[in-house]
């Protein structure tokens, strides 16, 4: 494994060669995730970044056993040494929500509109802890206060539609953290929220992480969020890992054309208003077709002949600063486009 975050203890989450494939009704096979591996240590944050359709959400759903019936998963996803993928449902149900929790992208749809916030929060507690309704209520209120919901004792009795989006995402976070999980999987937790609220939620996640020591897998396409929260970063494209290293490494020295493109596409504060944003040309690949070479090759400005035919392996290497990291690209690092601006990304 990568060993990007050096930690003497064994990792909390170990994912090895995870692959997700869907069979379509007409008999086709869609490979959403291919050969993805990563580790997560206690209290650390891993950012999984990539465009829509890069397989980052499917990776998370597969780990949580939430794939639809036509989805099949292979590989290993261990939590605390136990494989989540081969587990019986009852055993998995004891872990998810309790030891491994998840936050969804859109809080407006991820809460049951017919149940009060209180019901939904106490349900989680009563499932995983043998406590009375009253105790569960008190804990739920305390957690709502921890995520800074004002007047929590009264508002907890309201229904989801009576909250704003930002408040609901706080509720989701509170629900996810109720059982003080070891791992929190946040699937684009800020995408459905407006920018000022996004900042509050990110700040909240960071504070809670330092208080509770929860490890976080943060799935996002927002490089700014990654920069402010993550220890490690895994960049995904077309269902594969393109680059994997510490946030420091990825932001200061990206070694994959796709990562460079992502960082380059960020608007910068020192840009004049009339400078157009630098988008990566082209569209993400449709997940259906078989890819022979590098998935990013058709859009890569630096692609060479072999990129389209030979798939680059994800290989570990030591960078100039002596750090261990991984990349999947044929091009030598020295040949990558010089003068890439990344400093202003944070």
């Amino acid at each position: 494994m990568s060993g990007t975050t050096m930690n003497p203890t064994s990792p909390l989450i170990e994912v090895e060669h995870l692959a997700v494939r869907f069979t379509t009704p007409n008999g086709g096979v869609v490979e959403a995730v291919r050969d993805v591996s990563f580790t997560l240590h206690k209290g650390k944050t891993l950012g999984i970044v990539g465009e829509s359709g890069s397989g980052k959400s499917q990776t998370a759903l597969a780990m949580m056993g939430l794939l639809p019936p036509n989805g099949a998963v292979s590989g290993v996803a261990r939590y605390d040494g136990r494989d989540l993928l081969g587990m019986k449902h009852a055993e998995l149900n004891r872990i998810r929500g309790d030891r491994v929790a998840m936050i969804f992208q859109d809080p407006m749809t991820a809460l049951n509109p017919f149940l009060t916030i209180e019901r939904q929060m106490t349900e989680v507690l009563q499932l995983h802890r043998k406590i009375s309704r009253k105790q569960a209520f008190e804990q739920a209120v305390a957690m709502c206060e921890a995520v800074r919901i004002a007047d929590a004792r009264r508002r907890i009795k309201m229904y989801p539609h009576e909250f704003s989006g930002g408040m609901l995402q706080r509720v989701m976070i509170a629900m996810a953290l109720l059982c003080e999980p070891d791992v929190l999987i946040a699937d684009e937790p800020t995408t459905a929220l407006d920018v000022t609220v996004q900042a509050q939620i990110i700040e909240l996640l960071r504070d809670l992480q330092s208080d509770l020591g929860t490890a976080i897998i943060l799935i996002t396409h927002d490089m700014g969020v990654v920069a402010s929260l993550c220890d490690d970063v895994m960049v995904m494209y077309g269902g594969r890992t393109m680059e994997y290293g510490t946030a420091e490494q990825i932001f200061s020295q990206p070694t994959h054309p796709y990562t460079i493109g992502l960082l380059d596409a960020l608007p910068h504060l020192d840009d004049d208003g009339d400078v157009p944003l630098r988008a990566i040309a082209g569209n993400p690949p449709s997940a259906g077709g078989a890819v022979h070479g590098c998935a990013f090759a058709p859009r890569c400005a630096m692609a060479e002949e072999q990129c389209a035919s030979v798939r680059p392996e994800l290989l570990a290497f030591t960078d100039t600063d002596g750090g261990q990291r991984q990349r999947a690209c044929h091009l030598p690092i020295a040949e990558l486009r010089p003068g890439v601006r990344v400093g202003g990304a944070v």
Binding site: M64, P69, N93, G97, L127, D151, Y159, H161
Partner: protein, 306 residues
Amino acid sequence: MTLSTIETQTGDAVAVSASAHIDPFGDSPARHAWRRFAQNRAALVSCVILGLIILACFVGPWLLPYGFDDTDWLSISLPPSLANMHWFGTDELGRDLLVRTLIGGRISLEVGLLGTTLTVAIGVAWGATAGYAGGKIDAAMMRIVDMMYAIPYMLIAILMMTLFGRAFYLVVLTISLFSWIDMARVVRGQTLTLKKREFIDAARATGVPAARIVMQHIVPNLLGVVIIYTTVTVPGIILTESVLSFLGLGVQEPMTSWGVLIADGTSKMEVRPWLLAFPGLFLIATLYCTNYIGDALRDAFDPKVQ
């Protein structure tokens, strides 16, 4: 909300609906629902009328001087009149129609209530389970429903009556045995769309077992559809009972039900219209009331309706 706010509502509905929004906090869901229900005046009136009908049916016959099977040769086919103490008139055997309507109401209301309860319970459980489980379980469960459609219910009704004899609970059972299949289909369809919603995934992600997801997360969201469909089911069941009775499979003379009285009255409506009018009026009033109450209940339990 306190009682006083509900009372002021009769005077000024606008003021109350405004004051109801002032403090949305700290109310239990049940009180929330009750307050919204109480704001629906049609439903409140319906409750009162339905309550009076039920009271009349179960207490009324004791207060009247006639039995439901007392024939009186001196007062055959009397039209309704306040003077002769037969307010609803009499039939061709001289039996008082008022007491027969009330006694018949007992049967009809009981059949309606029990039949609907069974229909809803079986239909919702079956449909929600099939819809949520999906795949082979769903296919198998819904083929059973299809098979039920193919069986003529009259045949089963006749079979049950001949095998087990004529009994009230058999009538209810037979009717429910066939009316739940529509409910199951409606509920299954709704469940199929519900289970794709993200909050179901979110519940699964928190480790909620499948059975509990169906009970806690699917069923409450089905409420609107189920209530609406139930209000359609009630009259259907009451009328099915009358069909069975008409064929001699339900209640038997001299015992009666609204369905029987209406069927009987229909054949004589040209000469003795009151025989149709009074039982018909009671049935219509009951059905209207259940519809209004059902409507109000759906609104009251849907948290998004204010």
